[in-house]
């Protein structure tokens, strides 16, 4: 019974970690419809910049948590304005090519600046211990991730559902020109959303780094993982991504526990099953 409790906690904390990693791409791709294959790179960039601040400059973790997302967001902003804008009218395949190119560039930049070795970040002092729950040790940092994940989920859900931003973006996806004709600068909206998506990538990068570390090529793993969670939840809603993160967290954790041989296949199998049964994901809107 109590091992099950432990696995529940593991699943929960892993699920929230997934959510923190995916919420950025959920915003940028799921809601904005921009297929940014460099999103994983922005996440990893967040981790690396965080590493430089925390481990190299010795500044506190919290400082990095505050600064890094903005650094990444500004980089995202520049990418959006200079490179992505022209691709909106060209379509997704051009975005695939462009952002894949970006991911390649980032890959080399990372190894030039931070080397090719594996790096890790220590969690902040006060969370750098484990908490005992029902006789099991659980890292305090993981518990903190659950709390932060909840806050972000609520904020995102609120902005999407309760403000008109979500609606403007959805409108822009179906007819950008018309949105302009109704007096909304849709380019600005897109840029802002991309900014926030990158901000979340940076945030995820900092928050994820104590658990996942960073190493060359990590961005592609993060990317695929995010895309899987994204489609399981369905494009178009943060709620979907949230649900999917937890679902994937639970399924992966428990499958590792009960049928470890299948753990490599399980996420993809889950995704395939979800898509076959519900072709637009669990909570996805038909866009």
């Amino acid at each position: 019974m109590s091992t099950l409790f432990l696995q529940m906690m593991n699943a929960l904390s892993y699920g929230f970690l997934l959510f923190l990693i995916t919420c950025g791409i959920s915003l940028v791709f799921g809601i904005l419809g921009v297929l940014n294959l460099a999103h994983g790179s922005l996440y990893v960039l967040g981790s690396y910049v965080g590493f430089s601040i925390i481990m190299k400059s010795g500044l506190p973790f919290w400082f990095a948590l505050l600064v890094v997302p903005f650094v990444i967001a500004i980089i995202g902003l520049i990418i959006e304005i200079i490179l992505l804008r022209p691709t909106y009218k060209l379509g997704h395949l051009s975005q695939v090519l462009l952002t894949f190119g970006l991911a390649y560039i980032f890959h080399d930049l990372f190894s030039i600046i931070w080397g090719k070795n594996i790096l890790a970040v220590s969690p902040p002092e006060i969370l750098n211990h484990s908490v005992e729950m029902m006789g099991y040790m659980i890292p305090a940092y993981r518990l903190a991730l659950i709390a932060i994940g909840c806050v972000i989920a609520i904020l995102l859900w609120y902005t999407q559902e309760k403000t008109k931003w979500g609606a403007v973006i959805r409108a822009g996806l179906s007819d950008k020109e018309m949105v302009g004709g109704l007096g909304v600068n849709i380019h600005l909206v897109f840029t802002l959303v991309f900014f926030f998506g990158s901000l979340l990538a940076g945030l995820g990068g900092v928050l994820g780094s104590p658990v996942l570390g960073m190493y060359p090529g990590m961005e592609f793993q993060i990317l695929i993982l995010s895309l899987v969670v994204l489609v399981v939840g369905g494009l178009g809603s943060v709620t979907g991504t949230f649900v999917a993160s937890l679902l994937v967290g639970f399924v992966e954790t428990f499958s590792r526990f009960f049928v470890p041989e299948l753990s490599l296949i399980i996420t993809f199998a889950l995704m395939a099953v979800v898509l076959v049964v519900r072709p637009q994901g669990l909570v996805g809107r038909r866009i």
């Binding site: 659980i138 996942l212 190493y215």
Partner: protein, 382 residues
């Protein structure tokens, strides 16, 4: 067409004897997950040749670098380029066993001397053995097997096995299992998380049981960092001893693990802390040149360079005949920073000492300390 290629072949030989440089092809990953391993092997080679002014037996040494991307397909393409375009005399590399297996036939067909400086697949010196392929690094078997008896004597009678789910992990664990059960130990259970797994909590949950004396783990790179960290975070450290291969606590992953690896015991064929003359000299020179500690891959590069140099020397720099090169390689015997190494002429595999290493905390950070030596381990070759 046949004649065309043949004359091409001849051209190569003539060119070489006239040429005053000896070309060594280094097929190593420069990008992707294994990039840092490739870099370290390279550094080791460079250090050695720099110490010898890039000259052996009066000939200039040139290293031709190609990025293998740790991808067999790309590697094969690069290998062909090095053979045809660069006309290399000796090949070394390649880190990934899959690459080694993939290029094996082409190497063999082209009679290209290939000194494997890192790639653990057992079969390379067993069923896939080639006259032209010699391995100076290690085999999976050596790593795993060496610890079996030791673990039975020093850790306990019941052990839980875990390894990254890929051929290397399985081979190492198999070898350990063989030695350990032969010694009388019992494997309680085993679990294989996928390579590149990011959350070990549920596996650790499975291993967290009272009826075992220890866990034997094979993880490397980022897997090792995460596994060891989470081993501590989930409260197994101090409760269940952890042993494994040296990569679990390698020079380049320990800094990222904090103090989590304290107390882990592992088996490996070289360690930073080895107190021999050769090693001290090597470490010092390496740190001076690269401003960081050598890793085991640096040592592998350094040794491979030394072996090739020795072989070339004994040929007086005449590398026109590949069979002679491999013959000379096979007779190299030297005291390397890792101790005495020589080749087993039957298996083409290196014979070397293996060390049992314990990780301890010194001045707030971790260091490895050699606590036992298993001398001159010979791979059985089948």
């Amino acid at each position: 067409i046949n004649t065309a290629t043949k004359s091409d072949d001849k051209g190569k030989k003539e060119n070489d004897s006239a040429d005053q440089t000896i070309k060594i092809g280094a097929l190593l990953p420069a990008t992707g997950v294994y990039a840092s391993l490739g870099e370290n092997v390279n550094n080791g080679m460079e250090l050695y040749f720099e110490e010898h002014n890039w000259e052996v037996a009066g000939k200039k040494i040139e290293i031709v670098h190609e990025d293998s991307e740790a991808d067999p397909q790309v590697s094969l393409r690069k290998l062909r380029k090095m053979i045809e375009q660069d006309k290399i005399d000796i090949l070394t590399g390649p880190i990934s066993t899959a690459v080694a297996y993939a290029i094996r036939d082409d190497v063999d067909k082209n009679k290209l001397p290939f000194l494997v400086s890192h790639a653990g697949g057992n079969d390379l010196t067993r069923s896939k053995r080639s006259d032209y392929i010699w391995r100076s690094s290690f085999s999976s078997w050596q790593i795993g097997h060496s610890m079996g008896q030791w673990a039975f004597n020093n850790v306990g009678k019941k052990i839980y096995l875990t390894a990254a789910d890929y051929a290397f992990g399985h081979e190492v664990v198999e070898a350990f299992k063989e030695a350990y059960t032969n010694a009388g130990g019992e494997i309680v259970d085993e679990v294989y998380p996928p390579l590149g797994n990011n959350d070990y909590s549920s596996y650790l949950g499975k291993m967290n049981r009272d009826d075992i004396d220890g866990i034997y783990a094979f993880f490397a790179g980022s897997d090792a960092v995460r596994f060891v960290q989470q081993y501590e975070q989930y409260g197994l450290k101090g409760k269940i001893p952890l042993i494994g291969s040296g990569w679990l606590v390698a020079e380049d992953v320990r800094p990222q693990q904090g103090n989590a690896p304290e107390g882990i015991k592992s088996s490996i064929f070289w360690d930073y802390s080895l107190e021999t003359e050769e090693n001290k000299k090597f470490v010092e020179a390496y740190e001076k040149k690269f401003n960081k500690r050598p890793s085991i891959e640096s040592l592998e590069g350094y040794d491979a360079a030394a072996i090739m140099a020795k072989a070339i020397e004994s040929l007086n720099g005449d590398v026109s005949d590949p069979t002679k090169i491999v013959e000379q390689i096979s007779s190299v015997e030297l005291i390397s920073p890792r101790g005495l190494i020589k080749f087993d002429k039957d298996t083409h595999h290196v014979i070397q000492d293996l060390y049992i290493v314990e990780t301890v905390v010194v001045d707030g950070s971790t260091e490895n300390k050699v606590i036992d030596t298993i001398s001159q381990v010979v791979d059985p070759g089948k």
